[in-house]
């Protein structure tokens, strides 16, 4: 419950499940950013999570930026910025065995 507005807090995003150990949440954020940084350049996007500000920062190579709360929102905003959805079944991810 939020003490200011009285609304029940939204439950955590499903990708945050299981992060109960000390530091697990922060480690997961860094790991997420690491994966996204490897995936996104193909779509002309970059992701950043310094661990200080809540949320993930998403930017295009031309400088458009967005701050998103969770991964569901992340992929929707990435689609808007890139002009097409980031498809994990894109041949560039299924063809190559080794990550760059």
């Amino acid at each position: 419950m939020c003490a200011s507005c009285g609304y029940p807090t939204a439950p955590g995003h499903w990708t945050d499940a299981g992060l109960v150990e000390r530091g697990a949440r922060l480690r997961a954020r860094f790991r997420r950013a690491e994966i996204l940084q490897a995936i996104l350049p193909a779509y002309g996007l970059t992701a950043h999570d310094g661990g200080l500000v809540p949320g993930l920062q998403l930017a295009t190579l031309t400088g458009r930026q967005a701050l998103v709360a969770d991964l569901t929102e992340f992929w929707a905003v990435a689609e808007q910025l890139a002009g097409r959805p980031v498809d994990p079944l894109d041949p560039r991810f299924t063809g190559a065995e080794e990550a760059p």
């Binding site: 609304y7 029940p8 939204a10 439950p11 955590g12 499903w14 990708t15 499940a17 299981g18 992060l19 109960v20 150990e21 697990a24 997961a28 790991r31 997420r32 690491e34 994966i35 996204l36 940084q37 490897a38 995936i39 991964l71 569901t72 992340f74 992929w75 929707a76 689609e79 959805p85 980031v86 498809d87 994990p88 079944l89 894109d90 991810f93 299924t94 063809g95 190559a96 065995e97 080794e98 990550a99």
Partner: protein, 325 residues
């Protein structure tokens, strides 16, 4: 599967097309002692409820008439669930609380839409967890319905369990094996059982039967067969990488990925991950257990169409390796 140790009410969604035999099946289960302590919610699209009169044996019956819980009467349905959750929370923790809910949907409901409505409700998500989607299939008329009604197919595709009713009448028609093969093709992940007037009945041999070629209802999509893919998450695939990958997959391929279900091991315990279409339920932590079922850990089944199974595995491995030198 052992009951998870968490405090949310477990909801069983019972779906199926009009006249498939949902109430008959449920009535027999109640008579048989199943769902004894559950609150049964009966939803009817028509204004006048009939089905609740048939369910006298259940401990508690609530009726939701005059609209379908997945669309028109969605707000009433959510309000009813909130009242139940409220009444339950008002009881002491040590007292016996309502643990199970059964929703008998109207024949026109899409079970996936109901699951999505509960998940999207900020209050109910703390109180209700979808336990199982059971879809009742009419043994006599389903083949004809499936070739005409997109809704009939949509209901089948999201089911965890398919109950084929009227086995005795259908057996006389000799089309039963064909129906069963068709069901297996539409939803390869579901458990299929048979029933006569609600009582379990053995299914005839149907492994050799060919599925009915169903006409495409929406251009293209239905023509592509649905198939299950087992993803084994070995030590190289961590939960964070898997969740990044799955969230991207559901965003990009939400129309094609119908169902995701599996248990993933994380440092915090065994997580039960479930998605119906693009809607992911908050993962629950399952109790630890030894022996047989532990082998199913770190295995996720993805049911869908329009991609190659090998591509799913390759893509997941690519995501998991990313950023690791």
């Amino acid at each position: 599967m052992a009951e998870p140790r968490e405090g949310r009410m477990r909801l069983t969604v019972l779906g199926g097309f009009l006249g498939a035999g949902k109430t008959t099946w449920l009535r027999h289960q109640v008579h048989d002692g199943q769902f004894q302590e559950a609150c049964v919610i009966v939803n009817e699209a028509a204004e006048t409820p009939v089905d609740d009169a048939l369910l006298g044996g259940a401990a508690r019956v609530a009726v939701l008439a005059g609209g379908c819980a997945c669309c028109v009467a969605r707000d009433q349905f959510l309000a009813l669930l909130r009242r139940l959750a409220d009444a339950r929370s008002a009881r002491e923790a040590s007292a016996a609380r309502l643990q199970r809910l059964v929703l008998e949907t109207s024949g026109l409901a899409h079970p996936g839409a109901i699951v999505e409505a509960i998940r999207a409700d900020p209050l109910l998500v703390h109180h209700v967890v979808v336990h199982e989607i059971i879809v009742v299939v009419d043994g006599r008329y389903a083949l004809a319905q499936l070739s005409r009604e997109p809704l009939g197919r949509a209901q089948l595709e999201v089911a965890d369990r398919l109950v084929v009713t009227k086995i005795d009448e259908a057996a006389a028609q000799a089309s039963l094996p064909r129906l069963l093969a068709t069901l297996r093709q539409l939803n390869p992940g579901a458990v299929i059982t048979g029933a006569i007037k609600g009582a379990p009945a053995p299914l005839p041999a149907w492994e050799m039967a060919a599925p009915e070629p169903l006409p495409a209802l929406d251009a293209g999509a239905a023509a592509r067969p649905v198939f299950p893919t087992r993803l084994v998450l070995d030590a190289t695939i961590d939960w964070t990488a898997f969740s990044v990958w799955l969230s991207a997959l559901l965003h990009a391929r939400g129309e094609d990925v119908l169902r995701v279900k599996g248990v993933v091991r994380t440092p915090a315990g065994r997580l039960l991950v479930q998605a119906v279409r693009q809607s992911v339920q908050a993962p629950e932590i399952l109790p630890e257990q030894d022996g047989v079922e532990a082998r199913e850990d770190d295995t996720v089944v993805v049911i869908g169409r329009g991609y190659r199974a090998e591509d799913l595995r390759r893509s997941l491995r690519y995501f998991a390796r990313s950023g690791r030198c």
